[in-house]
Amino acid sequence: MSKVGIVLISHSSKIAEGIYELIRQVIQDVPIELAGGTEDNEIGTSIDKIMKAIQKADQGQGVLLFYDIGSAKMNAEMAIEMTESIQAKLIESPLVEGAYMAAVESGMGKKLQDIYDSVKEEFHCENS
Protein backbone atom coordinates (compact mmCIF):
# COMPACT_ATOMS: atom_id res chain seq x y z
CA MET A 1 0.00 0.00 0.00
CA SER A 2 1.38 3.40 -0.88
CA LYS A 3 2.14 5.82 1.93
CA VAL A 4 2.31 9.55 2.46
CA GLY A 5 5.88 10.73 1.86
CA ILE A 6 8.01 12.85 4.16
CA VAL A 7 10.52 15.45 3.01
CA LEU A 8 13.07 16.69 5.53
CA ILE A 9 14.36 20.17 4.71
CA SER A 10 17.19 21.42 6.82
CA HIS A 11 20.00 23.94 6.52
CA SER A 12 22.31 21.10 7.54
CA SER A 13 22.49 17.81 5.68
CA LYS A 14 23.54 16.14 8.95
CA ILE A 15 20.34 17.16 10.68
CA ALA A 16 18.27 15.67 7.86
CA GLU A 17 20.35 12.47 7.89
CA GLY A 18 20.05 12.17 11.66
CA ILE A 19 16.29 12.46 11.57
CA TYR A 20 16.23 9.88 8.82
CA GLU A 21 18.16 7.43 11.05
CA LEU A 22 15.91 8.17 13.99
CA ILE A 23 12.79 7.43 11.98
CA ARG A 24 14.16 4.42 10.11
CA GLN A 25 14.87 2.69 13.41
CA VAL A 26 11.11 2.59 13.91
CA ILE A 27 9.50 2.89 10.48
CA GLN A 28 10.85 1.28 7.35
CA ASP A 29 8.10 1.47 4.77
CA VAL A 30 7.41 5.19 4.56
CA PRO A 31 9.14 7.17 1.83
CA ILE A 32 11.46 9.73 3.39
CA GLU A 33 13.57 12.02 1.25
CA LEU A 34 16.23 14.43 2.40
CA ALA A 35 16.81 18.00 1.29
CA GLY A 36 19.56 19.09 3.63
CA GLY A 37 22.12 21.77 2.83
CA THR A 38 22.87 23.61 -0.38
CA GLU A 39 23.84 22.02 -3.68
CA ASP A 40 27.45 21.97 -2.46
CA ASN A 41 26.33 20.58 0.91
CA GLU A 42 27.10 23.83 2.65
CA ILE A 43 24.77 25.21 5.32
CA GLY A 44 21.64 26.42 3.52
CA THR A 45 18.82 24.99 1.45
CA SER A 46 18.30 24.32 -2.24
CA ILE A 47 15.09 24.56 -4.21
CA ASP A 48 16.33 21.92 -6.62
CA LYS A 49 17.05 19.46 -3.81
CA ILE A 50 13.62 20.10 -2.35
CA MET A 51 11.89 19.62 -5.71
CA LYS A 52 13.69 16.35 -6.31
CA ALA A 53 12.86 15.18 -2.82
CA ILE A 54 9.18 15.95 -3.33
CA GLN A 55 9.15 14.00 -6.57
CA LYS A 56 10.90 10.99 -5.08
CA ALA A 57 8.84 10.93 -1.89
CA ASP A 58 5.49 10.92 -3.65
CA GLN A 59 3.84 7.51 -4.05
CA GLY A 60 0.56 9.08 -5.07
CA GLN A 61 -0.53 9.82 -1.52
CA GLY A 62 1.15 13.21 -1.39
CA VAL A 63 4.05 14.55 0.60
CA LEU A 64 4.50 16.43 3.87
CA LEU A 65 7.41 18.87 4.07
CA PHE A 66 9.17 19.70 7.33
CA TYR A 67 11.73 22.51 7.60
CA ASP A 68 14.01 24.00 10.22
CA ILE A 69 14.45 27.76 10.16
CA GLY A 70 13.49 30.85 8.24
CA SER A 71 14.57 30.86 4.64
CA ALA A 72 14.07 27.11 4.25
CA LYS A 73 10.39 27.93 4.30
CA MET A 74 10.57 30.20 1.27
CA ASN A 75 12.53 27.65 -0.71
CA ALA A 76 10.03 24.99 0.28
CA GLU A 77 7.10 27.11 -0.82
CA MET A 78 8.69 27.78 -4.19
CA ALA A 79 9.50 24.12 -4.68
CA ILE A 80 5.89 23.21 -3.92
CA GLU A 81 4.65 25.75 -6.45
CA MET A 82 7.01 24.35 -9.05
CA THR A 83 5.91 20.74 -8.56
CA GLU A 84 2.22 21.51 -8.74
CA SER A 85 1.21 18.11 -10.03
CA ILE A 86 2.11 16.60 -6.66
CA GLN A 87 0.04 17.16 -3.54
CA ALA A 88 2.69 18.62 -1.28
CA LYS A 89 2.02 20.38 1.98
CA LEU A 90 4.43 22.40 4.08
CA ILE A 91 3.91 22.08 7.80
CA GLU A 92 4.93 24.41 10.61
CA SER A 93 5.97 22.13 13.40
CA PRO A 94 9.16 21.28 15.25
CA LEU A 95 11.35 19.64 12.60
CA VAL A 96 12.64 16.57 14.45
CA GLU A 97 9.66 15.96 16.69
CA GLY A 98 7.03 16.60 14.03
CA ALA A 99 8.69 14.52 11.33
CA TYR A 100 9.07 11.58 13.70
CA MET A 101 5.41 11.67 14.60
CA ALA A 102 4.31 12.08 10.98
CA ALA A 103 6.38 9.11 9.87
CA VAL A 104 4.77 6.85 12.46
CA GLU A 105 1.32 8.01 11.37
CA SER A 106 2.10 7.57 7.70
CA GLY A 107 3.35 4.07 8.51
CA MET A 108 -0.08 3.30 9.90
CA GLY A 109 -1.59 4.22 6.54
CA LYS A 110 -3.05 7.60 7.47
CA LYS A 111 -3.88 10.17 4.82
CA LEU A 112 -2.00 13.42 4.24
CA GLN A 113 -4.57 15.75 5.77
CA ASP A 114 -5.06 13.50 8.81
CA ILE A 115 -1.35 13.36 9.50
CA TYR A 116 -1.12 17.11 9.02
CA ASP A 117 -3.94 17.65 11.51
CA SER A 118 -2.48 15.23 14.08
CA VAL A 119 0.90 16.92 14.01
CA LYS A 120 -0.61 20.37 14.21
CA GLU A 121 -2.75 19.29 17.12
CA GLU A 122 0.18 17.76 18.96
CA PHE A 123 2.37 20.84 18.62
CA HIS A 124 0.30 23.91 19.22
CA CYS A 125 3.11 26.18 18.21
CA GLU A 126 2.66 29.82 17.42
CA ASN A 127 5.92 29.80 15.56
CA SER A 128 8.49 27.29 14.63
Partner: protein, 202 residues
Protein backbone atom coordinates in the same frame (compact mmCIF):
# COMPACT_ATOMS: atom_id res chain seq x y z
CA UNK B 1 14.32 55.35 -20.39
CA UNK B 2 14.07 52.26 -22.50
CA UNK B 3 15.49 48.88 -21.61
CA UNK B 4 16.64 46.70 -24.49
CA UNK B 5 17.83 43.10 -24.33
CA UNK B 6 21.40 44.36 -24.46
CA UNK B 7 20.68 46.85 -21.67
CA UNK B 8 19.26 44.10 -19.53
CA UNK B 9 22.29 41.89 -20.03
CA UNK B 10 24.54 44.87 -19.36
CA UNK B 11 22.54 45.55 -16.20
CA UNK B 12 23.21 42.03 -14.96
CA UNK B 13 26.85 42.29 -15.98
CA UNK B 14 27.36 45.49 -13.98
CA UNK B 15 25.49 44.02 -11.03
CA UNK B 16 27.65 40.93 -11.15
CA UNK B 17 30.83 43.05 -11.26
CA UNK B 18 29.80 45.01 -8.18
CA UNK B 19 28.74 41.92 -6.28
CA UNK B 20 31.96 40.06 -7.02
CA UNK B 21 33.98 43.13 -6.03
CA UNK B 22 32.00 43.63 -2.85
CA UNK B 23 31.55 39.98 -1.95
CA UNK B 24 33.51 40.35 1.28
CA UNK B 25 31.70 43.53 2.19
CA UNK B 26 28.31 41.81 1.83
CA UNK B 27 29.56 38.90 3.88
CA UNK B 28 30.85 41.26 6.56
CA UNK B 29 27.45 42.93 6.77
CA UNK B 30 25.80 39.51 7.08
CA UNK B 31 28.28 38.53 9.76
CA UNK B 32 27.07 41.07 12.28
CA UNK B 33 23.35 40.28 12.04
CA UNK B 34 23.24 37.02 10.13
CA UNK B 35 25.13 33.96 9.06
CA UNK B 36 27.95 35.51 7.00
CA UNK B 37 26.89 34.06 3.69
CA UNK B 38 25.11 36.82 1.79
CA UNK B 39 28.24 37.76 -0.18
CA UNK B 40 28.97 34.14 -0.99
CA UNK B 41 25.34 33.48 -1.92
CA UNK B 42 24.98 36.49 -4.21
CA UNK B 43 28.40 36.07 -5.82
CA UNK B 44 27.65 32.45 -6.63
CA UNK B 45 24.20 33.30 -7.95
CA UNK B 46 25.26 36.16 -10.21
CA UNK B 47 28.26 34.27 -11.53
CA UNK B 48 25.84 31.56 -12.65
CA UNK B 49 23.53 34.20 -14.11
CA UNK B 50 26.36 35.52 -16.27
CA UNK B 51 27.29 32.00 -17.40
CA UNK B 52 23.68 31.41 -18.37
CA UNK B 53 23.24 34.74 -20.19
CA UNK B 54 26.56 34.41 -22.03
CA UNK B 55 25.60 31.00 -23.36
CA UNK B 56 22.11 31.86 -24.58
CA UNK B 57 20.51 34.21 -27.10
CA UNK B 58 17.32 36.08 -26.35
CA UNK B 59 14.29 37.41 -28.19
CA UNK B 60 12.79 39.45 -25.34
CA UNK B 61 13.78 41.24 -22.16
CA UNK B 62 11.22 39.07 -20.40
CA UNK B 63 13.12 35.94 -21.40
CA UNK B 64 16.40 37.31 -20.11
CA UNK B 65 14.77 38.05 -16.79
CA UNK B 66 13.22 34.63 -16.63
CA UNK B 67 16.64 33.02 -16.90
CA UNK B 68 17.98 35.41 -14.29
CA UNK B 69 15.10 34.42 -12.02
CA UNK B 70 15.52 30.68 -12.41
CA UNK B 71 19.26 30.87 -11.91
CA UNK B 72 19.11 33.06 -8.82
CA UNK B 73 16.41 30.85 -7.38
CA UNK B 74 18.40 27.69 -7.61
CA UNK B 75 21.94 29.01 -7.14
CA UNK B 76 21.82 31.75 -4.52
CA UNK B 77 20.49 29.62 -1.67
CA UNK B 78 19.49 31.22 1.63
CA UNK B 79 16.67 33.70 1.86
CA UNK B 80 18.00 35.86 -0.96
CA UNK B 81 17.54 33.07 -3.52
CA UNK B 82 13.77 32.73 -3.46
CA UNK B 83 13.37 36.46 -2.87
CA UNK B 84 15.50 37.72 -5.79
CA UNK B 85 14.22 34.78 -7.81
CA UNK B 86 10.62 35.75 -7.20
CA UNK B 87 11.35 39.40 -7.93
CA UNK B 88 12.89 38.63 -11.33
CA UNK B 89 10.17 36.12 -12.13
CA UNK B 90 7.57 38.81 -11.52
CA UNK B 91 9.55 41.27 -13.64
CA UNK B 92 9.68 38.69 -16.38
CA UNK B 93 6.00 37.88 -16.21
CA UNK B 94 4.94 41.51 -16.10
CA UNK B 95 7.08 42.39 -19.13
CA UNK B 96 6.00 39.33 -21.11
CA UNK B 97 3.70 41.26 -23.42
CA UNK B 98 5.73 44.44 -23.69
CA UNK B 99 7.22 44.88 -27.16
CA UNK B 100 9.64 47.38 -25.73
CA UNK B 101 10.34 48.03 -22.10
CA UNK B 102 9.71 51.68 -21.40
CA UNK B 103 9.55 53.55 -18.16
CA UNK B 104 5.91 52.90 -17.45
CA UNK B 105 6.00 49.18 -18.20
CA UNK B 106 9.14 48.86 -16.10
CA UNK B 107 7.55 50.80 -13.25
CA UNK B 108 4.55 48.48 -13.41
CA UNK B 109 6.83 45.42 -13.46
CA UNK B 110 8.78 46.72 -10.48
CA UNK B 111 5.54 47.10 -8.58
CA UNK B 112 4.75 43.46 -9.20
CA UNK B 113 8.25 42.44 -8.24
CA UNK B 114 7.84 44.20 -4.91
CA UNK B 115 4.50 42.47 -4.41
CA UNK B 116 6.25 39.19 -5.18
CA UNK B 117 8.94 39.80 -2.55
CA UNK B 118 6.27 40.68 -0.02
CA UNK B 119 4.24 37.57 -0.88
CA UNK B 120 7.30 35.34 -0.65
CA UNK B 121 8.88 36.73 2.51
CA UNK B 122 5.80 38.04 4.34
CA UNK B 123 7.77 41.15 5.30
CA UNK B 124 6.81 44.73 4.73
CA UNK B 125 8.41 48.17 4.69
CA UNK B 126 10.48 48.99 7.75
CA UNK B 127 11.43 45.44 8.73
CA UNK B 128 15.07 45.92 7.68
CA UNK B 129 15.02 43.78 4.57
CA UNK B 130 15.79 44.30 0.90
CA UNK B 131 12.24 45.66 0.64
CA UNK B 132 13.49 48.82 2.30
CA UNK B 133 15.47 49.48 -0.87
CA UNK B 134 13.04 47.96 -3.38
CA UNK B 135 10.02 49.92 -2.15
CA UNK B 136 11.54 53.44 -2.33
CA UNK B 137 13.01 52.62 -5.76
CA UNK B 138 9.64 51.36 -6.95
CA UNK B 139 7.92 54.47 -5.57
CA UNK B 140 10.39 56.64 -7.44
CA UNK B 141 9.76 54.78 -10.71
CA UNK B 142 5.99 55.12 -10.28
CA UNK B 143 5.99 58.81 -9.56
CA UNK B 144 8.75 60.29 -11.63
CA UNK B 145 10.56 60.82 -14.80
CA UNK B 146 13.47 58.60 -13.89
CA UNK B 147 16.95 60.13 -13.85
CA UNK B 148 20.01 57.99 -13.35
CA UNK B 149 21.61 60.12 -10.65
CA UNK B 150 18.39 60.41 -8.68
CA UNK B 151 17.86 56.67 -8.88
CA UNK B 152 21.37 56.09 -7.58
CA UNK B 153 20.84 58.49 -4.68
CA UNK B 154 17.49 57.05 -3.73
CA UNK B 155 18.80 53.48 -3.67
CA UNK B 156 21.88 54.48 -1.71
CA UNK B 157 19.98 56.53 0.87
CA UNK B 158 17.44 53.76 1.31
CA UNK B 159 20.21 51.24 1.90
CA UNK B 160 21.88 53.49 4.44
CA UNK B 161 18.65 54.09 6.27
CA UNK B 162 18.24 50.39 6.96
CA UNK B 163 20.97 50.97 9.54
CA UNK B 164 18.50 52.58 11.92
CA UNK B 165 15.88 49.87 11.54
CA UNK B 166 15.28 46.91 13.81
CA UNK B 167 15.02 43.57 11.99
CA UNK B 168 11.77 41.70 12.48
CA UNK B 169 12.08 39.24 9.59
CA UNK B 170 14.77 36.78 8.51
CA UNK B 171 17.90 35.71 10.34
CA UNK B 172 18.64 39.21 11.58
CA UNK B 173 15.40 39.24 13.57
CA UNK B 174 16.92 36.82 16.10
CA UNK B 175 19.20 39.69 17.12
CA UNK B 176 16.25 41.92 18.04
CA UNK B 177 17.47 45.37 19.24
CA UNK B 178 21.07 44.43 18.51
CA UNK B 179 20.24 44.41 14.82
CA UNK B 180 20.01 48.22 14.98
CA UNK B 181 23.08 50.13 13.80
CA UNK B 182 24.05 47.88 10.90
CA UNK B 183 23.14 48.02 7.21
CA UNK B 184 20.96 45.12 6.06
CA UNK B 185 22.98 42.88 3.70
CA UNK B 186 20.08 42.26 1.30
CA UNK B 187 19.55 46.01 1.05
CA UNK B 188 23.21 46.43 0.18
CA UNK B 189 23.02 43.88 -2.64
CA UNK B 190 19.79 45.51 -3.82
CA UNK B 191 21.62 48.83 -3.91
CA UNK B 192 24.24 47.28 -6.22
CA UNK B 193 21.43 46.08 -8.44
CA UNK B 194 19.78 49.49 -8.73
CA UNK B 195 22.96 51.53 -9.02
CA UNK B 196 23.88 49.24 -11.93
CA UNK B 197 20.48 49.94 -13.45
CA UNK B 198 21.20 53.65 -13.06
CA UNK B 199 24.44 53.23 -14.97
CA UNK B 200 22.61 51.41 -17.74
CA UNK B 201 19.91 54.03 -18.23
CA UNK B 202 22.34 56.90 -17.90
Amino acid sequence: MELTIEDTIKWMQLTNDKIQKNKEHLTALDQVIGDSDHGINMARGFQEVMKKLDAATYETVSDVMKDVAMTLMSKVGGAAGPLYGTAFLKLSMSLKDSQKVDESSFAKALEEAVQGIIMRGKANAGEKTMLDVWIPVQDYFSANNVKADELETIAKTAMEQTKELKATKGRASYFKDKSIGHIDPGSASSYYLFTSLAEVIE
